[in-house]
Point group: C2
């Protein structure tokens, strides 16, 4: 990369400049505030910087101390007064923080804040301490420097979120995620003003919370990998300190193999059951006609309702394939007796029982699309993984709803795809009260293909763009400007211990057996893991297979590929051949063409890389095609039939996934080829 | 660095080659085994690799599963049988593991193991499962590859440790270290066969364990940063799974400010007391003449003795400055009455009371040098921070003793300094039974100047060399070969989540505000933090000042500087001018000379770097002096008086610390200068 950084510095800076005068006024804020006025003054930060709060309050004080500590860490300043203070006499300090009341960790709590910075002082004001916390993050994103030192620019900001439910689902079941992973991601969420952690805790592959009422659940259903009550409380406190709600999900009646490994008698088939190691949709399903099932769920949900204080409680409800119900005669009889036409109706009955239980514990039920059934009252919340139509339909029927379709970050789609996915398009056919039922959205970090080493690189930085979609005004949607800001946010997120950048480098060292990583980086910068569920289709994986290969180091938005596609698009959109663009395209292609020679030597030293040798060859060949096309464009070469055939073969071959990754510059080369036809 | 890697590849490979035929037979083992026979065969690893144990046993099975998982991660192999199995019918598998009994997590437990690898199979045998765990680490260090794939070389290894106490002290008080930090370091310890975590838990700056008998200790003495009992147990289990003992330290009667912040009535002066934020030796000391002090310690040590099962218990006992005792009239009267001639005698009385308490709880007392007093029986263990003479004196008087002097890794001394520090020199004046009293040693990670971000880079990789000193035969002490192996071990340690390499890169990104880090890396590769306690002397720091500056990114053993010094030494040791060496030296000097131009631009963009601008200039000037000397050596230039004066000025200036770091090539330039005199 180093070489390329030098080589293409001019390209990148060109890009930055192009978009710097856009909506974001060249500030690196994300999510971008609702209302911002930028002026030219600077508030300079010195070692005498101090923060004063208008009142006592544990959460705000801790947040202010964290703010000061982060500011010190970034600037290296030995701030003389490293703890925030309570400003009893209300004299003006250089950083004055005030709020009216402690916020509740609750849906629809006020998160708005106001910042006014001039050369003399900073004022941060909010209704709640949660608003103050949101404001701290904006301030840290505003931190700037010039030759004189660090400063905050002169701004006035009035900011509040567009949607009240801005969530991240973390699946701690497919692969267990220890609490330090959860904590650093809560910090990441707070940094981009997300307010809801959806903690997926029960699955075919694991039941991940200690249960004091049913200890066999964690003893037999988790391989010893579960959260104790004390750890759950630690996470709840950590989240609360950052103004983040935590919604637990216990997925029933399907996705329940781990529960049935502990309590097979609750299954719709005799069992025995073992923790599932594979990925997919499985048969084991709770028996919906047993009293014992509901007694079990009543006690379990009672215990968990007490442990998790949020008023919402997620019961999953998705992907019950119905096989065990179909082949269980008693269930079939019951359904006949009850006049249930299908399994969906049977599940509606099941969900209604759950609703009674949850209502008893003062909880509101949340579930996936499948819980949406005519028999259910509309005081439940539908989380839509199927699509926006389902979301809109739910709202029309009076249900509250949150969108996850389009935010499945496990599927390795590009950031702009998620970014432009609006839960509430301007032209949507809903009236105002229906629109208010759309609470927001949730990015979903399903964990089949991730480990503790790679989870951060799947969540970040893409989730920051989703956070912006859910917080910022609808009209903030300039993709290139988003990418510009995203790069900066991504780097800043590292201060929370997030590993999305540093584990990439570590994985490259491991992959090359600690040899020079440059050639491998050049390749990974233009490949991405295959999308959607293709990785599993191409090669079966289980809970135990290693996640340390090239496909795991690769990420969405392969950077060089994206930049290359952009340049090619611009080049092709111009009527006259732009020689500077030709040179830029050539530089990339020459680098890639020659990369295989270096990479081959690295591969010889590292058998784990053997599988991507073909990909590296494809890149070389494809780059040669690209170089040929440029020569043709410039009239330095003529098109022959054999060249055309060969080129098409190379392009087609390069479209095939290799080692579960795909080459992201093929479309650009294809466009170039089409341009000379 | 990338540029340099290319430029100097030939130098490095030259070095590797020079030492490759040394004691270690070119294997990357550390600690190096007691007895090893290397043959030419290869046991090839495929997806059908499987591990079979000769008996049930939770610890060995979990360790075998971890072994398989790490092997899969490194090789990328989808091992079909990812869990170890119990070989009931004793048929031969491709990896057979057997041991006789479960080891006790106890001093002097058997840790020996035997490995025999041929082309067909691997046998790992041990007396205890702890020996098996040690053997797994050796195996993973043996993993090799060629063009055909991964293999283990054909070896026979008989291995056991030289010393039974091979420890690492982690100070969780000056800066709190959350349990994920402790866990990853336990993994690092296990990787180099260390077996004792000395957990420093009580200090002036914090009391770090929940106390159920005296909750004010953690409530008022920790800023909320402490380990719960559940977390302690989690660490104890984690350590036990890796064959590691955990010795808690509760430092009394000095270093006790945090205790007195909670219970001021136990102090030797009236108080009130506040958690100390500064570093050094402070006055607050427990009152040794109050019954309540001993009632308190009895209950507290009772609680902690139950929590920590190891038979050893550390009571600190160091650095009581005696000021509070001197000025407390009642204590003075008591001392007179008891005929105590000095505070050391008073502390002897105090320690004897503690000894009674600990004996009641079946604990053996460990303390720092200061607890060594004629009034103490010799069933206590002395940990020597003062020096080897104290260690030997203790052994002569019949005390068991462990060495920490020379292993103070917080003082940023080079690895070879620690490596060559032998607790039991061959020529030591002790008889065999006295020698047996020297139990081993402990690296001490005091945490005044480290944070969770930097702790790993202070511990690793240097502690691996200390681990080798304490495990391997005395005659394994080739420094260059140690450095060669250390680099490989350092990289392998990353698989445990240790951050010594990746946080370095992250800190560089932060320091440069996410710009090109190369010029800064070039500088940091030749500077080190000032040694011993000079950092604090140069600039006061407290618990809250940031540890994110260049001095924190810099580490011991600045790599380029060490290599440069080696080349210069070799160059100067030869009678005839070696032109190849001249070129090597020139390449370094030219790089450094020109580095300032690039770095200046980075500094302009990043005020936190401003403080090292002078260091960068010094490097440039010093490199010019070096280049001049080479020209003089080659007869291309003559020495003038003014040049000589100027050069001396530059060298003297470069000796001054800048931003609490020092330039590590000055001595080499000085040698070059002297060579032309």
């Amino acid at each position: 990369m180093k070489f390329k950084i030098l080589l293409f510095a001019f390209i990148l800076s060109g890009y930055n400049f192009m978009f710097s005068q856009s909506q974001s006024q060249n500030l690196n804020l994300m999510p971008y505030p609702d209302n911002l006025e930028l002026n030219s003054g600077k508030f300079r930060i010195s070692e005498q910087f101090s923060a004063k709060l208008n009142q006592q309050g544990r959460r705000a004080q801790k947040a202010a101390d964290r703010f000061l500590s982060r500011l010190a860490k970034r600037t290296g300043l030995f701030i003389e007064d490293p703890f925030s203070e309570i400003n009893l006499d209300e004299t003006s300090s250089n950083f004055n923080i005030s709020y009216q009341k402690e916020g509740l960790i609750k849906l629809n709590e006020d998160e708005s804040y106001y910042i006014k910075i001039n050369t003399e002082s900073i004022h941060l004001e909010a209704v709640t301490d949660i608003g103050v916390i949101r404001g701290f993050e904006t301030l840290l994103q505003l931190l700037s420097s010039d030759e004189e030192g660090y400063f905050f620019p002169e701004v006035v900001i009035n900011d509040s979120p567009r949607f009240p439910w801005r969530g991240l689902l973390i699946d701690a079941c497919r692969h267990f995620m220890p609490i330090d992973v959860i904590k650093r991601n809560l910090d990441g969420m707070a940094a981009v003003k997300m307010n809801t952690l959806h903690w997926h805790l029960s699955e075919d592959q694991g039941f991940r919370v200690e249960s004091k009422t049913f200890p066999k659940l964690h003893e037999l259903g988790s391989d010893g990998l579960y959260y104790t009550h004390e750890q759950v409380k630690e996470i709840l406190n950590y989240a609360s300190d950052r103004g983040i709600r935590v919604i637990p999900e216990f997925d029933v009646p399907g996705h329940a193999t781990a529960i049935l490994a502990a309590y097979p008698e609750l299954g719709s088939a005799p069992g025995p059951y073992e923790i599932e190691r594979d990925w997919g949709i499985f048969d084991p399903t709770l028996n919906p006609i047993l009293d014992t099932t509901y007694i079990f769920l009543d006690k379990l949900f009672g215990e968990m309702s007490e442990l998790f204080p949020d008023e919402y409680f997620h019961i999953g409800g998705d992907e019950n394939n119905g096989k065990q119900w179909d082949s269980n005669e008693e269930i079939q009889e019951f359904m006949k007796k009850m006049n249930f036409s299908d399994n969906h109706a049977m599940q509606g009955y099941f969900n209604n029982q759950l609703l009674k239980i949850l209502t008893k514990y003062d909880k509101k039920m949340v579930g996936w699309d499948e819980i949406f059934h005519s028999s259910m009252p509309n005081n439940i919340v539908i989380q839509s993984w199927r699509g926006k139509e389902a979301l809109i339909e739910a709202a029309k029927k009076g249900y509250q709803a949150i969108l996850s379709n389009g935010y499945y970050i496990d599927l390795i789609q590009p950031t702009d795809f998620h970014y432009l996915n609006d839960p509430l398009e301007a032209e949507v056919d809903l009236d105002e009260s229906e629109k208010n039922l759309i609470l927001g959205g949730e990015a979903t970090m399903w964990s089949e293909m991730i480990s503790t080493e790679t989870i951060d690189s799947r969540i970040w930085p893409r989730t920051a763009a989703i956070a912006e979609r859910l917080w910022s005004p609808q009209n903030i949607k300039d993709v290139e400007d988003m990418y510009r800001r995203l790069e900066n946010i991504s780097f800043q997120l590292e201060e929370h211990g997030l590993t999305h950048i540093k584990n990439y480098e570590m994985m490259l060292r491991r992959l090359t057996n600690n040899k020079d990583t440059e050639a491998l980086e050049n390749l990974i910068s233009v490949i991405e893991p295959v999308k959607i569920y293709n990785r599993y289709r191409l090669r079966k994986q289980t809970q135990q297979t290693p996640l340390s290969r090239v496909v795991d180091a690769a990420t969405a938005d392969a950077k060089d590929a994206r930049e290359f596609r952009n340049i090619v698009d611009e080049f092709l959109s111009e009527k006259k051949v732009d020689n500077k663009k030709v040179q830029q395209i050539k530089s990339y292609l020459a680098l890639w063409k020659n990369n295989h020679f270096q990479l081959k030597k690295v591969i010889e030293n590292s058998p784990i890389l053997k599988e991507i040798e073909l990909m590296s060859e494809n890149l070389t060949n494809l780059s040669q095609v690209g170089l040929d096309i440029l020569e043709i464009t410039l009239g330095e070469r003529t098109v022959t039939e054999s060249w055309q055939k060969e080129s098409l073969d190379i392009i087609n071959k390069a479209k095939e996934p290799v080692a579960q990754t795909e080459l992201m510059i093929v479309s650009a080369i294809e466009k170039l080829l089409n341009s000379i036809k």
